[in-house]
Structures are given as C-alpha cells and as structure tokens.
Amino acid sequence: MTEQKDRELYRWLRLIREFEDRISALDKQGKLMGGVYSGKGQEAVTVGFCHDLRWDDWVFPLHRDLGAFLVKGADPKRLMAQIFGKRDGFAKGKDSYLHGGDLANGIFGATSMLAATLPVAAGMAYKFKIRKEDRVAIAFFGEGASSRGDAHEAMNFAGVHKLPVIFVCENNFYAYSTPNELQFGVDDVADRADGYGFKGEVVSGNDLHAVMKTAGKAIARARKGEGPTLIECKTYRYHGHSEHDRADYRSEEEVITWESRDPIFLWENYLKQRKYDIAAIVKETTEEVTRIVEEAVAFAEASPFPEGPEAMEDLYAMPIDTEAR
C-alpha cells in the first residue's frame, strides 16, 4: 500500500473514533435523546470493508456501524444531525441514530429488528446479479443477530443464487449482556457458511490489514460472480451495549486485554514500522478529525428540529386523499 492510502486509512479510523467519542460525550451531557450504541473498538471492521468499495456498491450497517456510514461517504454533518434527530438528518428527524440511511451513497437504514437487513441485502444483490452489474452488497451484523431466522433465510438464498453479497459478522462476544456460549453452540459463526454452500472465514476484526485482505478477496469474488462470503470478525466493543449499560457482565481484565489490541494502536504501530513521520501524521490527523467532528456537531446543533406536522410527511410516495372526493 502507498503511504497515502496508509494515511487515509488511519484518518478513517481516527475520524470514526473521534465521532464515537464525541457522541458518547454528548450523550453524557444529556444532549442526545434515544439510545447510543458505541462501536468504539470495532473501527477496523467498517474501515476495512468499506474503504475500497465503489460509490455504487451498497452497505447495510447495523446499530454499531457508524463507521460504515462515514467511510461509505455519508456527510459527517448530516450523520450528526441524524443522531440528534434533527431535520437535516437522513430521516429528517423521523428516527435517530443509524435507522436512517443515506441512499444516495449506498447506505441502507436499518430497522431495529436485528438481521432484518440481511434479506434486503440479498435481494439487492439478486438485482446486481440478474442485471449483470459487478456491484456488491455488504451486510453487517452482530454475532447475536446471527441467531435470527432472517440471517438464515438470507444466507440460504444467497447460496442458491451465488449472489454478490458479503455477510460480515462482527463478533464482539456479547449481545447486550449475553455471551457467545448462550448465543450459539459453536466457536465460530463463520462455520455456518459451509451449510449454505459458500466460503466462511474468521479474521481478527481489530487488525485492519487482515480485515482488508479478507474483505478484498471476498469483494473481488463477489464482483466476478463467484458468490457470497461469510466473514466473521472477532472484535470488541469497549463501551457497554448502550451508553447507560455499565456492562458488569464482563471482567475488567477482558476489557483491558482487548484495549491492548486496539485497532488504532495497531495501525499506528504499523505506520511507525513503515518509518513514516508518525508524530506529524498523528498531529495532522488529530487536527483534521477534530475539526470535522466539531463542524458536524455545530451543524447538528444548529439544525432545527422538525415541527410537529412534519410527522405526516414522507409516509407515502403516492398519497391518496380518500376524504376529499
């Protein structure tokens, strides 16, 4: 990789981290309503999968995939407005956090129902296939969401038609408080791929190099019509399930162990090994991401909340007035 790309990747990791940290801080200050689900610690997964995508590829992020929004091209300002529930958010305040997608940038807004986006991603990939478009759909989901029927139905269908969809399981070892032992009877969710007729892989989700390598191969296969891949990224969320979860169900030691494998730390280490001017890079990047996030917050705070009657807009594309006739 070129130095430019190495630095770009670093910038994305840092921007996401800055964004996540700021959201947590805003939440603590009582400036946000609704749930905040920090993906801090998991940045390498979304950067690794989204960075080399084309604008006309699609991502299907879940509640912890703020990074996918940013890397795939969502305007940080609008994303912040979305999180504030403001009119300039993707949902125009109709829903918050990551429930509003940015369709022009190929970012689909999830419902809350975990894994419900996987059938949608598979359906979209079916269109790519029959229209012979070499585009891919990337569906992110937690290891907890893998238990839902929708995950199965989607992967099964993708296997039948060898669709250009990549299922990215972010295994952060907990679904809210539920540890993997109570979620499934296997070590690796990726083992399931065999039962659908495509490749499953396990990768360290904190190691951006590893993620990018695996992602790159899977994306290339998908574009060539060689079908789906299920990639399980082992990673960790530093925060609780949401900001008000103290996460007593896990040990301090475990958290510390994972912090020692921090994806940004690892990448900085790599940059050092490459003998880049790390001090300069860090300084420059810090300034840049701070500025972007500052601007985003300022924009979001200035953005108006929607007025009451706006609640009735955007429900139907072709409204019918049945009272008037």
């Binding site: 689909f108 598979a122 359906g123 139905e153 072709m318």
Partner: protein
C-alpha cells in the same frame, strides 16, 4: 374477453411483466409449476427464470428481498403461496417495508406488492382460510386492496404493481374459478383508494368487500321488493374511500357492514366507528356488522358454515336492519 378471477390475476402479472422490465414475480413454485393455483402459469417460460423466480420456503426473505429490489427501482410482486403464511414475513412487511420511505425521510419509494390467496369457504381449515387484512390496515405506510371481481382483480393488481408504495393484495381463493366475467380486451386500471358502487339504493347501505360482495349483491337483488339496498364494495381497505362511504350513509341512514374476516378487530369495526362518529346525525339505526364469528375457521363443513357469513345470514341481517 371472458375470464375467471384467477385468469385476471395472471393477465395482470403477464401484462405488467411485459410492459416494464423492472417488474418481477417471486414466490414459492411460481415458476416451473406456475403457482399452486396456476396464477402464474406460463409466466416463467415467457419472461424468464430471472424475473419469475422460484424461491426457497422463506417468506421473511421473500419480502425482505423484495424491499432490496425495490430500493434498486425494481417492482417485485411477492407471492405468498397461501396468504396465511404472511405471518412468517410479518416483520418484514410492517417494520421494514411500511417504514422504508418514512425512516429515510422520503429518499426512496417502496414499490412492492405482496399477494396471495386468502379466504375460506373451501374447507381449507385453520391455515388455508384466513382473512388477515385487518392487521395490515393498522399499519401506516401500507396500502391494502381486496378485489371481488375479475375486472377489479386485474385492474387493481396492475395499479398495485405501478404504485410506488407497498401494497398488500388479498385475492380470494373461493372466487378463483367460481366467477367468470367479461373484461375489456384493452388495457385498463382500477384506481387504488376508490370504492365501487355495486348497486344503488335508498333504504340501506351495505358496505362489504371480497368474497361476500357477491352474496350481498344477490341479496340486494332478491330483496328488491322488500328494501332498496345500496351496495358498496370497498375494494381498497387502506385507505378507505370515506367520501363514497359517507355519501351513501348520509343518503340511506342505515348501514350494515359485511366481511368474511372475524368480527372482533376486523375492518368493519373501523368502518362502523368512523360512520358512527362522522354520520351520527344522519343515522336512522345502529350501524350493524356481520362477520365471521370470533373463532378460527374450522375444517368440518357445518362448523365452517356456522362460523362464516353466508347468503342466509346476510339476508337475515338486512331484514333486521330494515325492520329497525
């Protein structure tokens, strides 16, 4: 052109598949078999296996995939082999499809049609007789239609396919081959959101939809000497054509609502409530309802007949209201 109700459905899909390359039909056994009821006979041969797709037994995936296609500008028709199985795709309909546009602040439309055979009277038992339309009428973002004639079956399905919003289309399997009608050879549409006046009358308004429309019209004819009945076939259940409904009620002052779905929580409750509130001054009698009894639709004939509305019960209900 003399066609059955199901042939009208087939034609609608055939014509729309031919007209617009973005239209797809997806469902279990819709391809090689042409559908469990032959609603899609010949369509795969004609339009290709890419566009008339035999799906795995995965109703949730079928609807969800439809949404993914819709976001790409496709217009998938999603068949439930029996409408009863719509419960297996329920979440994708009410939480994914119905909210898609709203939660994206209007960035996208969601032009999907979910259709399949509903209704009883064919000894289908608990899982092949259901009329689950009321659930969907409680979900903003959806449109719900239920044609009673071959003409409407075709025209409404074509409109549903062209509609940019998710439409749940309830066809009634009892009617599939039991009614045959002359329909235009040339293309036509039936607008969503518009009720049909099946018969004019001055004494009583009977509001109905789906299979009972036929029994109600027959009753209206048979009882013409006794009472002058106006028959409204709602056709669209969400949104309901209130202008037509209220106009009729204001004229007659007496209303009976008839549907095959169960009474409690059925669409008739909403219709009755709306009339009772908005036409209170004009009512000359209680708004009455005739619907299935509040129980599952049983298999054995006498029980099924006991549970569902029929010609006799309709006549009786009309007499009761007329006598009020």
């Amino acid at each position: 052109m003399l066609v059955t109700y199901i042939e009208a459905i087939r034609q609608a899909m055939d014509e729309e598949l031919a007209r617009d390359k973005n239209v797809l039909l997806m469902g279990e056994d819709v391809g090689v078999l042409g559908g469990a009821f032959k609603a899609s006979a010949g369509l795969q041969e004609k339009h290709g296996a890419d566009r008339v797709v035999d799906m795995p037994i995965s109703e949730s995936l079928i609807v969800g995939a439809g949404v993914g296609l819709a976001v790409q500008g496709m217009r998938p028709i999603l068949e439930m082999q029996f409408i009863d199985f719509i419960t297996c795709g329920f979440d994708q309909i009410v939480n994914m499809a119905a909210t898609l546009r709203y939660r994206h602040g209007g960035q996208t439309a969601c032009p999907i049609v979910v259709r399949g055979p509903s209704g009883g009277g064919v000894h289908g038992g608990l899982y092949h007789s259901q009329n689950p339309e009321a659930w969907f009428c409680h979900v903003p973002g959806l449109k719900v239609v239920a044609p009673a004639t071959a003409y409407d079956a075709k025209g409404l399905l074509k409109s549903a396919i062209r509609d940019d919003d998710p439409v749940i289309y309830f066809e009634h399997k009892f009617l599939y081959r039991r009614i045959k009608e002359e329909i235009p050879a040339e293309e036509y549409l039936v607008p969503i959101g518009k009720a049909a006046l099946r018969k004019e009358g001055r004494d009583i308004t009977v509001i109905t939809y789906g299979s009972p429309v036929h029994a109600v019209v027959k009753a209206a004819r048979d009882m013409a000497a006794e009472v002058d009945i106006e028959v409204i076939d709602l056709r669209t259940l969400l949104p309901i054509d209130w202008a037509t409904v209220k106009g009729s009620v204001r004229k007659t002052g007496k209303v009976l609502i008839v549907h095959e779905a169960r009474l409690t929580g059925g669409v008739g409750g909403e219709v009755a409530a709306r009339i009772a509130q908005d036409c209170f001054e004009e009512l000359d009698g209680p708004v009455m309802r005739l619907a299935a009894r509040d129980v599952h639709t049983p298999f054995a004939p006498a029980m099924e007949d006991y549970v569902l509305p029929n010609q006799e019960k309709i006549t009786e209900a009309i007499r009761k209201l007329a006598a009020y």
